[in-house]
């Protein structure tokens, strides 16, 4: 049993609808502090949808509806008086495809801090450098901060996007298949980075790649057909799955 204070996000009986279609059914799980939690499952199982519910990105899709609770540090994210903008500042996100803005490297990372009203050049410089270092891309870009972010390679762009998210000093970092568009070398760099990041952040990562889940995560949750089938310690889940569906999936019988 984990002490309550170690749980950053507690999801209770979460249902999610796209119009009339129920995309998630009764999902309940806990995300632990300073750990990497992986969400796995076949495509269309609802793992990405679930991830986007954790920082209310699904608010942006018209015609969707949420039932249930997502408790973040003791507060339900879906309470009426919660502003999604505040939530997204505290829970950062990295997307499937690297999506830097068509701005310079510096301005990409400084984008978030500027939103919060930081104008002081020195403070911005410091934040940008710190974030780029944290995202392990500083050495590659330190001489070209004024260059367009779009001139970077795919893997570099993704680490830049991570730096951009880190510049907000989020409490949780959500990663939606962050390596699916990258080559193996770029992928391994991101994976190494995730390992390091968990010292300071709580990371939730969606992946379609079971090896990746096994390599980087502490806990793993298996989703299937809109339900969370099984969750537990990653090593345990991959070696001794309790549910048959989980076993079928990790042994490659479907998906």
């Amino acid at each position: 049993m984990v002490a309550t204070s170690d749980i950053v996000i507690e999801v209770r009986d979460l249902d999610f609808y796209y119009g009339d279609i129920k995309a998630l059914r009764g999902v309940s799980l806990n995300i632990k502090r300073n750990q990497v939690t992986a969400l796995i499952g076949p495509s269309g199982c609802g793992k990405s949808t679930f991830l986007r519910l954790l920082n209310r990105m699904n608010d942006l899709i018209p015609g969707t509806r949420v039932e249930g609770q997502v408790m973040f540090e003791g507060q339900n994210l879906y309470d009426e008086d919660v502003n999604p903008v505040d939530i997204r500042r505290r829970i950062g996100m990295v997307f499937q495809k690297p999506n830097p803005f068509p701005k310079s490297i510096f301005n990409n990372v400084a984008y978030g801090p500027r939103l919060t009203g930081i104008k002081d050049k020195k403070k911005l410089d410091e934040l940008v450098v710190r974030s780029l270092k944290q995202a392990a891309i500083w050495e590659e870009v330190k001489n070209s901060l004024d260059k367009s972010a779009l001139s970077l390679s795919g893997g570099q762009q993704q680490r830049l996007c991570i730096a951009r998210a880190l510049a907000m000093a989020p409490e949780v970092l959500l990663m939606d298949e962050p390596t699916s568009a990258l080559d193996p070398i770029a992928t391994s760099r991101i994976e190494e980075l995730v390992e390091v990041l968990k010292k300071d952040y709580t990371v939730v990562i969606v992946t379609h790649n079971m090896q990746q889940a096994a390599r980087v995560s502490d806990d793993t949750a298996f989703f299937y057909m809109g339900e969370m089938v099984e969750m537990g310690n990653t090593e345990r889940l991959f070696t001794k799955p309790e549910k048959q569906q989980t076993e079928h999936y990790i042994t490659g019988r479907f998906g």
Binding site: L60, R88, G92, N99, P102, Y111, G112, R114, L115, C161
Partner: protein, 290 residues
């Protein structure tokens, strides 16, 4: 028919058909090119420095067209001041805030058809609303409003198109960083869409500069000695000046060079504005990498 004969027949048909198409295209290119060259040739003989900087003299049979240039300048600027802010802001609402649905479709349809309303109808509208009902009289203000609303649908349409082409991943990335919608629009969407917005707006401005019918009853005057001093003054304008000199002067043939000169100035202005828009579009397209 033998195979060879059939083949020959098919090739012959093709040759004749393509010959006709080439002929048609050649005719169009020669006509359009000829018109421009003819106007430049005729106009260049009339245009000189004093033509551009002096007022008309001797019952408009001599002198220059300076007041008309100034008038067109004011009307163009005035209509841009109305159409650009209103058009871009409207487009932002339609593309970033409005919910997709039948109402939005209807509004888009309305805007699209509004752009096809004949310009003389705008002249009537401007006369009824601005000149008479709101009491602005025949003035720069009334003319600018009329022209502004004439090009408003062009500006809205082009801007909305440009906003919709901004990848949604840019918006997502910004919102995921905790930006508000307004911050996202100002810092990501608008800068990314700027080339498209500019191109559409400039094309609209080019149209405003060359229109005659909407300003005939709302802004333009046959002749005035004075340059305008207030937005409620009437003005001379290049397109109207051409019309007046060519149709209602007493010395139509005598003033022919003045007419050609004015035509050259007007088409240089309008085509210049349009070329500018095209250059912006091509340059920005080359830079665009998403």
């Amino acid at each position: 028919m033998t195979g060879a004969a059939s083949r020959r027949y098919r090739m012959m048909t093709e040759r004749v058909a393509f010959g006709i198409i080439r002929l048609l295209a050649g005719l169009v290119v020669i006509t359009l090119g000829g018109i421009v060259l003819f106007l430049i040739y005729q106009g260049a003989r009339a245009v000189n420095w004093s033509f551009l900087t002096e007022a008309p003299r001797d019952a408009m049979t001599k002198g220059g067209i300076f007041p008309a240039i100034i008038g067109t300048f004011y009307l163009t600027i005035g209509s841009s001041l109305i159409a650009l802010p209103l058009g871009v802001a409207s487009a932002i609402y339609l593309s970033e805030y409005a919910r997709e649905g039948w109402l939005l479709k209807l509004i888009r349809l309305g805007i699209q058809n509004w752009a096809g309303v004949p310009s003389v109808v705008f002249g009537l509208y401007g006369l009824a609303l601005f000149v008479v009902f709101l009491g602005f009289g025949v003035s720069i203000l009334a003319g600018s409003l009329t022209l502004g609303f004439l090009i408003l649908p062009t500006v809205i349409g082009a801007s909305e198109e440009a906003f919709r082409q901004v990848p949604s991943t840019f918006r997502e990335a910004s919102l995921a960083l905790g930006a508000t919608k307004f911050q996202t629009i100002c810092r990501v969407v608008l800068p990314s869409a700027l080339p498209g917005v500019l191109t559409g707006s400039i094309l609209g401005i080019g149209r405003a500069a060359g229109e005659t019918a909407p300003i005939m009853f709302t802004a333009a005057t046959f002749y005035t000695k004075h340059l305008p001093t207030s937005p409620l003054d009437q003005v001379m304008a290049l397109p109207y000046h051409i019309y007046v000199l060519a149709t209602s002067g007493t010395h139509i043939d005598q003033t022919r060079p003045l007419q050609y000169g004015t035509v050259l100035v007007l088409i240089s202005l309008v085509l210049g504005i349009n070329i500018f828009a095209i250059i912006i579009r091509t340059r920005m397209r080359r830079k665009k990498t998403w």
